[in-house]
Amino acid sequence: MIFILLCALMALAPPSKVRAYDTPNDGGGSVTIEWQISPDDKELIGYQIYRSEDGEIYEKVGFIGPGRTRIEDETQDGPEYIYKVAAVQDTIRSYSDPSPPVMSRAHLVDRTKTNVFVSLLVFGAIILYFTYAARKGKEMFIRKIAGLQAVDDAVGRATEMGKPILYCPGIGYIEDIATIASLNILGEVAKKCAQYDTKLINPNRDPIVYTVAREIIKESYSSVGRPDSFDPDNVYYVTDSQFAYAAALDGVMIRERPATNFLVGWFRAESLILAETGASTGAIQIAGTDQVSQLPFFVTACDYTLIGEELYAASAYISKEPLLLGAIKGEDWGKFFIGIVLIIASIIGLLTTFPILGLFR
C-alpha cells in the first residue's frame, strides 16, 4: 500500500495538452507536436516523443531537452499518426494522453514567404512601369557617376599610349547579377575599343561567363562595323580557381602593361591583389562591385569605384537607351518607397504594440 502511495507521490507529472498538427508551409512529410511542460520540468533530463499508427504499438521517434514545448517529426504523407510525449527522469517515464490523429501533407504555397512575394510584385511593378513609361522618350536627367564619365577618356588614353585595356569581369558566375551588369559594361567598352582600334584583353574565371563575354565582344565589334578586327585570342578562359586567376591577371597587368584596368563585377578577397598590382603599374583603374566587403579596398586602391547600384546604372548611363534609363528612374522610386516603409514601420513600431517586425520575418 505504502509502496503504491510512494509511487503516486513519487510519480512524475506528465506533460499536458499534447497537440499534433501537419507542419504548415512545407513539402509534406513533417508533423509538429506541441505540449505544455510537465510541472516537474526542473528535474527532467528531457522529453521523449512516441508515435503510433494504430494506437497500440508506440515507437520512440524523438527526444528533446527540458523546458522545450515543440518538436517536428519526420513522417510519411498518408498514414494517420497518434503522438504521446513522455517526461523522462533517469529510468522513470511519465506518458501524456495521446494526441488526436493527424496526417502530414504537402502544401502548394509557403505562406511565410508572402512578404517576399508582395515585395517582388511591388518593386517589379514600380521598375517596369517606369521602364516602359520612358519609351515616350522625354529626356531624363541622370546624376554624374564619376567612374562612368572616366570610361571615354580612359579608353582614349590607352589608344594614345598604344597600350591595351584589361577588362576583368570579376570571379562571379553568370548567376551573379553583378557579373551580368559587368558584361553589359564590357559590351559598351568593347564598342569604344573597336572604334579606336585599341586591344581589349578579357581573361575570364568562369567557362560560361567566358562564352557569353566572347559573344558580347564579337557583337560589339560587328555593331560598330569592325567585325574583322575582333581578335578571339584576347578573350580567353583562365581557371576557376580564385587565386590562380588572380595570379594570372597580375601577370597580364605587369607584362602587357595595360593603360586602363576595368575591375568590374563580383569579387572576394582577391580584389585588393588585382587593384594594388594594377596601381603599381600606373594604370588608370575603374572598379565596380556590389560586394560591400570588397568596396573599401577598391575605394582605397582604384581611381574610380562604382559603388553598388552605380554598377547597375552603368550600362544605361553609357548607352543612354531610353528603356534602360527608365529602369533607373524605377529604381529611384523603389528606394523612395523603401524610405517611406522605414518611416511608417518605425512609427508603428514605436507608437503601437502591433508586431511590425513579424511582417519582415
Binding site: I45, F63, I64, G65, P66, R68
Partner: protein, 287 residues
C-alpha cells in the same frame, strides 16, 4: 625640399621589406608582452572555469591546416585550462581533416602534464579524464544525437575502444551532463551547434574563430547565444594570458608571440600612413 618628395612617395618595396622584417623577427626571437584581456575572451574563460565537477566540456576541433596558425593556440590553451582544472573532457570533430590537428593538440598538452605529474592522481589518463570521440558523418547525426546519448552516436571512439566501457562515459550520457561545448572552426560550424544543439537541448556554446570571419559572428555574441568567443591570434593570446595568470601554468604561448608580429605590423602601417600625410601636408603648404 627633397625630404617631402621622399616622404610622399616611398617605394612600395621598402614598405614591404620593413613589414616583412617586423613580422619575421618576433617569430624567430619570441617574447611575450602582457596582453589586456577583453570581455568576449573573459566570458569564455569563466564559462569553462565555472563548469560544475559532475559536468564535462566538449572541444570540437573543426579547422584545417591553413587556419591552424590562428586556431591551434586556442586549442592548446583551452586543453591546458581543462586539464589543470581536472574538468571532464570530450574531444570530437565533425569532419575528417581536423582529426589529425585534434590528435596533435591532445598529445602535446598531455605530454606537458604527464611529464610533470608524479602520482597517478594528477596525471591525465585516457578513459578517466578525457575521451577522444573522433568523427561520425554526417555532422547532423552527432549534433542532434548527443542530445540523447553520446555513446549511442559514438559507439566506438577514435582509438577503436567501445565507448560504453570507458569509465568517463558512465558519468556523461548526453548534453545534460555537458557544461559547455567549445567549437574551434574557420567556417560556419559554430553556427550549426547553436541552430541545432542549443535550440533543442539548451547546450551552452563557445566559439573560437578566425579574424576573417569576426564580423559575421559578433551578432551571436551580442544575443548571448555564444557564452564567449575567441577571435584570431589576438583572442588566442588573451586566453593564453588568462591561463598563465590565473592557473600559474608556464608553457609556450604561440599566439602571444605571433601577437607581437601583429602589433608591430599594425604600428608600421600606421607610421607609414602618418608619414605619407606629413609629406602630403608639407607639400600642400609649400604650394
Amino acid at each position: 625640399m627633397k625630404i617631402i618628395e621622399i616622404l610622399t612617395n616611398i617605394d612600395r618595396r621598402i614598405i614591404y621589406l620593413i613589414l616583412l622584417i617586423v613580422v619575421v623577427l618576433p617569430l624567430i626571437f619570441p617574447s611575450v608582452e602582457k596582453v589586456r584581456v577583453m570581455p568576449p575572451v573573459e566570458k569564455l574563460y569563466y564559462a569553462i572555469d565555472t563548469i560544475p565537477p559532475e559536468k564535462a566540456v566538449i572541444v570540437d576541433f573543426d579547422y584545417e591546416p591553413q587556419t591552424a596558425p590562428e586556431l591551434d593556440p586556442m586549442g592548446f590553451a583551452i586543453l591546458r585550462h581543462v586539464f589543470k582544472r581536472r574538468i571532464k573532457l570530450l574531444v570530437l570533430s565533425l569532419y575528417v581533416q581536423p582529426l589529425g590537428l585534434a590528435q596533435n593538440a591532445l598529445t602535446q598538452v598531455i605530454e606537458e602534464f604527464n611529464s610533470a605529474a608524479k602520482t597517478n592522481a594528477d596525471s591525465i589518463i585516457y578513459g578517466r579524464d578525457y575521451v577522444f570521440l573522433g568523427w561520425v558523418p554526417p555532422p547532423i547525426i552527432p549534433i542532434l544525437g548527443m542530445g540523447e546519448s553520446i555513446t549511442g552516436v559514438y559507439t566506438v571512439d577514435y582509438y577503436g575502444n567501445q565507448t560504453d566501457t570507458l569509465p568517463l562515459m558512465e558519468e556523461i550520457t548526453n548534453y545534460n551532463d555537458v557544461g559547455l561545448l567549445v567549437s574551434l572552426s574557420g567556417s560556419d560550424i559554430p553556427k550549426y551547434w547553436i541552430a541545432y544543439a542549443q535550440s533543442r537541448f539548451g547546450l551552452p556554446v563557445g566559439a573560437g574563430i578566425t579574424a576573417v570571419s569576426a564580423s559575421e559572428f559578433y551578432p551571436y555574441l551580442q544575443t548571448g547565444q555564444f557564452s564567449g568567443m575567441l577571435v584570431g591570434m589576438k583572442g588566442g593570446a588573451e586566453y593564453e594570458e588568462m591561463v598563465e595568470r590565473t592557473l600559474k601554468i608556464k608553457s609556450r604561448r604561440k599566439a602571444s608571440e605571433a601577437l607581437l608580429s601583429l602589433t608591430y605590423a599594425h604600428i608600421v602601417m600606421i607610421l607609414f600612413i602618418v608619414i605619407g600625410n606629413i609629406g602630403y601636408f608639407a607639400k600642400r603648404r609649400k604650394k
